[in-house]
Symmetry: D4
Subunit: 247 residues, 8 copies
């Protein structure tokens, strides 16, 4: 509740158009819907700039469906990440216009076209990183961020990357998805002045340590101003891009 | 070298105004100045959007001074991070208009006023985090990013944070510097739709693990779209803010 | 054996009502029942304040059943944690009044109603943390601790938490179950003066490190006096609450 | 601000005894004092049950002194942990009645005798753990918790521990400070039904890993209901005891 | 080849009873049998005091059988650890007198009764540790070490351990198998002057870290002279006991 | 593009045989073939000395087949590592002359016999290390490096190693594959002056830490000049050997 | 207190020669001397086979001296490990016959010659490991274990080790002190059937990880029956040897 | 001792020119010189291809001097790494022709000019890596490997690296010294077919983890055939280069 809203409310109490008890309830109760097993945050769009995205991991298909329904009934779009086949089926039964990106495990129901927020270059070091890149791309799409993919441009073959350098630099933000030694964001960061969001993936073995080495290397990288999200967190990169583009 | 520049160069070869050997040299040689112990990248401002910042750690005062002089001679501003007292003295001798922020260990010589890029809220969980916050603030200042500090607003006393929530949200980007359990960026991220850059600090003991726990917690945070830089990397947060604001 | 008991025993030896050999046996032998594969500690209720709870992990269903039977025959209640379906079936065959909480994997046979020990607020950051919360709730229930659940009140949507703040504070102890960045106990600890027991869960990915980051962040938290148990250890939190409430 | 206070405030607005603007300010501003470099939380005693304790690490002596003065001026007691000699000197100059426990590095100014909250057994595995134990003891003392020390009762010589078992059990809470393999809390937890708070210390070498092994072992311990605080965090154990005893 | 054997060989060369080429071959070639995929070390009994034990993990049943046959043909006993059901079946087909301990996954064919080497107390903190304890027991049995088991004597119920203290002390060596916080060897080490071999097990969760915490705690233990083998290495404890008893 | 090629191209522009736009395209575009999901680097043989090897892990069989086909159509040999059965089948359907080494999971189609590059000794500490050794051997074979295997020569039975010492030393490079404590490369390095490439394997348990201990021990080894590749990276050892032998 | 002693005590109560209260005190109080800051365990020699050794780290010189005096007054020998120069001076002032081994930091006062327990080979991989080896040697000496040193016999120069192999094997126990990759105990274990105690040292850098890699490698070693103590724990190896030799 | 030497020795025994006892001694004793605290391996040059290099860390100046003297007396060159000022002074006193490279802490006395072995490119990502690079360069120089330095060519400014690409490729081996994210060897490996030896340095902070992240990233790198040595091990890279060039 903003100061302005609060001021208006207090004035309404003085004016007698709102009772003390009503005002009390409005000030102390938050705008969410209680489903028993979850509180659906129907006002998050106002506060954080995007409707709540449902994280599908560890939720049953019917639980996801009920949360989705609550959002749809309020006229909000629905985005579910880490959605497995069962969840996808349940949502498609609920909303025939649902779209499921299997590789990225993202399901979306977009009934209100989002305003166009800008564009993102999605850069990828290898085909194994595609699932994370596609999660990011699907969420960007549902939020009005136009994406262009630059796949298989790893640092061991620099000419492939240099060939697309200007195309990457032409986008509003750059999202670099990489596993293994995580060098790509450093190199890309040295080639563009645009915001660079690095997403480490858990692709690799041995000293890759499930993506931790990739993460650490990205954070230790020598191109300044590259920022990082959690391992395999394609959604997080999209959300970060949204914050940057929505300003 | 951009495609346009290359096209112009090639045309000049055809026109005979540039010889083949000259063109060859221009295409294959990069714009930097060789100092023997370092190659000063005098064109970085064009590519990455900001002149090279000198990382003072592990460099001798006279080495830093020589690099600084090379930049100043080309009319570029100078920013040195991790500058100790000796380096500060050497630079001040070189440039009487140098400004040294002792707490943040940043030295800057700003002869060309930078264009104003926007504003940043610098949020800080405790007084122990001030050195990192001040490094960030000094670099922002040298680059034309206006900063406002919000100090000592940790999560254990939420009312202090809630009291400044709207002031934070009014800035273009939010930089949250925090040590210990690193919860502040998550909470702040839930209160604003602006870009949030989290900087873990190595303030803490025991399970803090030199800031790694703070870093990991920030990356695992439940507010979407919060991005992270390396431990104690106040400079990196400023550089990330610059990329976002310079678009 | 307490000093009083020992004094009485020694006096009985002097009085001749107990032989030297009998006294010797009583002093050196402990009160447990040997099952061959396990020693059932039938007197633990006297020493530690609660009957032995059977940890079901890694025990065969029939082994658990035999231990349970030994306890029941002595008139003690039975609580089994980490009980899988097979163990639940075996115990239900043994005791038709057994109650199985599937989500928390706890099986209990409560034949002697425990004295009411007080109340606990069980606070939970997300639906994924429910299995651990339910383990804790089921054990509390079997021990006479009344529980109230506060589910889905994570720090990214502070208004949900602030709405229930006073209800939480009204309980005798507060148990906070959280995964990911583990910030919730710090925030809750700043809102109540009651004992706060934090239970990290292994919910998360990447830098969550199987719950270790959550654990470390909780231990590094800036609200003073918050205590922590092992990852996913809902039972341990109940046992800690019992120690606090039984005083 | 509690619902009752808010209701009263709203009523005062209706009654005209408080203006809308005043009410607005009261609702949105929190009770703290701005010192520039710190916000002194003068109302924490109401919310969390104890006045703010000053964590001396990383603060300059004069900064600590100014915070202390702000508290003293409001009639609150002062406790500073991790206070070095310079800080101790500054505080003693400020308050001649200050008391400094050098081994525990705790400085306290107790002008209002705290109510007696109960008693704590402070159990210690070795002389090397004394600094942490004394930090805990000094804070307990300043808060009205009576302490009794049981020093040098490690598990390698069980008879020393068994000799004091009943005396330990007679206290309201038990705080066990231990380094190395961290076995003592498990053993003590098996001998008492009182709350047991384990404090790992960084005493040891090699596989002790700066106290992490001790911490992990304590969390993995087989006595149920033992809770743990951060490595070397004697203050945290006192604060946890306070929460338990203040109920 | 011992110096005596070498001296004899050289003398035989001088005497002409052995040719230079024969001597050369004897000196440079080691006593093993080449199977193509493995070199069976048929003389290890002479050097290290026990015939080679076959580590079954990662070997196919037929490979184990062929190695076993090579040993049996030379009149040596066979011991296979980490033997799964298929390997057990293959060995039983080869040697009807083979004995398989399923819980410890050890298969043995003992055709030459080993000399009695002494006795070992096998102490175990919980039923979950039985697989490791039984691996140790089976290997001891095959090598002539008499074992007595002390099961379920964890430190949380000290009276169970104290009741068997003297029986443990009566054995030649003590092998303590424990998971979780690994405190048992420290406590046992304080109760006996016999050699104590600690075997950490991977029983536990969360901060147990797959047995590493147990291992580290054992190595940090405060009872002097306790030695440790690798996690879950029941065989290694038996081999260590053999070295001690065979002197 | 080499300077010579660039000079020739520029001259052709001057001569008018190549247009400015053509030259522009040639300079900025790299020699690879776009498959949509991958960029096949058909010129790598020129730059790095060997055709691109397909890393099969995480690629679908049909994807691998399409990349392989692109290479075969250009007359290049094909090597696929980490190839599972489905991939092997797809490739064999594509190229009847494909050869699949199941143990090493390597598939190769060698249509142009590679020049003989020299010889490698492949030394192996145990039968469990064979999969990694065979991956290395198969790749070496496809590249013209002759291999000789020395299997089961671990340090616990030194005579087996000493017996083959001279045969190992006779090869051009020595590749040592070892798990567990990783001591073999140190010992081998002390016995030869040839290049020694150490490959840690993830064979082991407990403190082996999935091969990390082996890796760390190899890097800490006391024989100078031993170099190391990633855990289980038999291919990497072959590639390193190729670099050494191709000089 | 043994069963026999207890039986005798109980009989004395029956006989009236010991009062009930006296018997009570004798049963419940342990044989130690209270110094305030420490409980000196004057009976440990009976239970664990050796008088308490004073661990000097973290104790003040005067504290060590007081403990030493308490032991000397009871006619016990004194051994102090990790004794710095100040402690050595204090002890020498107390007991002119004290002997200080500076390299091993061990101080001993041996007034009652210990019985000869046997012999130990102390094997050392490099001169940097000498401080740990000398700690072990000094303690062995004070306890009647004869030592022979084999210095600088690392695995990179096997001939140096093989030259002393038989001399090592002639001792009762073998203690191997090694840093870096920790391969020496494996190799030595393959050359002798005697008990082998491995002591990892923190000698090394980078991946040595302060001795952890050495420790892990020793525990993962392929020679069976090698046991390990904590990093740099030369004293622990001596204590383990004592347990083995005292049987 | 080679087979040929052994055959000759045995024949000499048959011929009577060598006695049995003499032969025995020659076979079993290794060629080293006993200094008491060290065994100088005077024959290593024959076996491993280079005289023993003295590792100065942890050795006293006089100890290093004595070892050096033993080598010089046998006409061998001397190389000391990790030599501090005191050691340098001691060696210069011993050998006026000693040369000390302070930045790399290497001291060498080269009296016999080594044969020229080839050339090495020493590539360095930043000025902070110079100490490790200079250690490598100094050792290379003492062994006859010609070096050329390429300093400050990090991946964030690719044009600096691309400008020297061909010069790097012209050398026999490439040694890449890098800290931070360790991406440089991957990029360099993609630009040359020569052997690439990567040396991680401990330059960095936060997630760099003392060079471990750099090491892990290098091992996970996507350019095939890049090999790695221990953190900061410039000497090891030189020794590896020697093995490669000496073939």
């Amino acid at each position: 509740m903003t100061p302005d809203a609060l001021r208006a409310l207090l004035q309404a109490v003085v004016d007698g158009t709102v009772s003390v008890e009503d005002a009390l309830r409005r000030v102390t109760h938050a705008p969410y819907q209680e489903l028993g097993f979850a509180k659906v945050d129907t006002h998050r769009a106002l506060v954080q700039g995007a409707a709540e995205v449902i994280y599908g991991e560890g939720k049953r298909a019917d639980e996801v469906a009920r949360i989705a329904q609550a959002l749809l009934e309020r006229g909000q779009n629905v985005v579910v990440t880490r959605a497995d086949a069962a969840t996808a089926a349940a949502l498609c039964a609920l909303a025939p216009d649902a779209r499921y990106v299997e590789r990225g495990r993202v399901l979306s129901v977009v009934r209100t076209a989002p305003p166009r927020l800008g564009s993102a270059a999605l850069v990828c070091a290898g085909t194994s990183d595609l699932p994370v890149l596609e999660e990011c791309a699907a969420v960007c799409g549902a939020w009005g961020i136009e994406v262009e993919r630059f796949v298989d441009v790893g640092v061991a073959g620099l000419h492939r990357l240099l060939a697309v350098r200007e195309a990457i630099d032409a986008r509003d933000v750059v999202i670099v998805v990489a596993g293994m030694e995580g060098a790509l964001p450093s190199v890309v960061g040295g080639l563009t002045k645009k915001p660079v969001i690095a997403v480490p993936t858990s692709v690799g073995y041995g000293t890759n340590l499930g993506g931790l080495t990739t993460l650490f290397a990205m954070l230790s990288g020598c191109s300044s101003g590259v920022v990082v999200v959690n391992v395999d967190n394609g959604f997080g990169a999209a959300a970060a891009a949204r914050r940057m583009l929505a300003r």
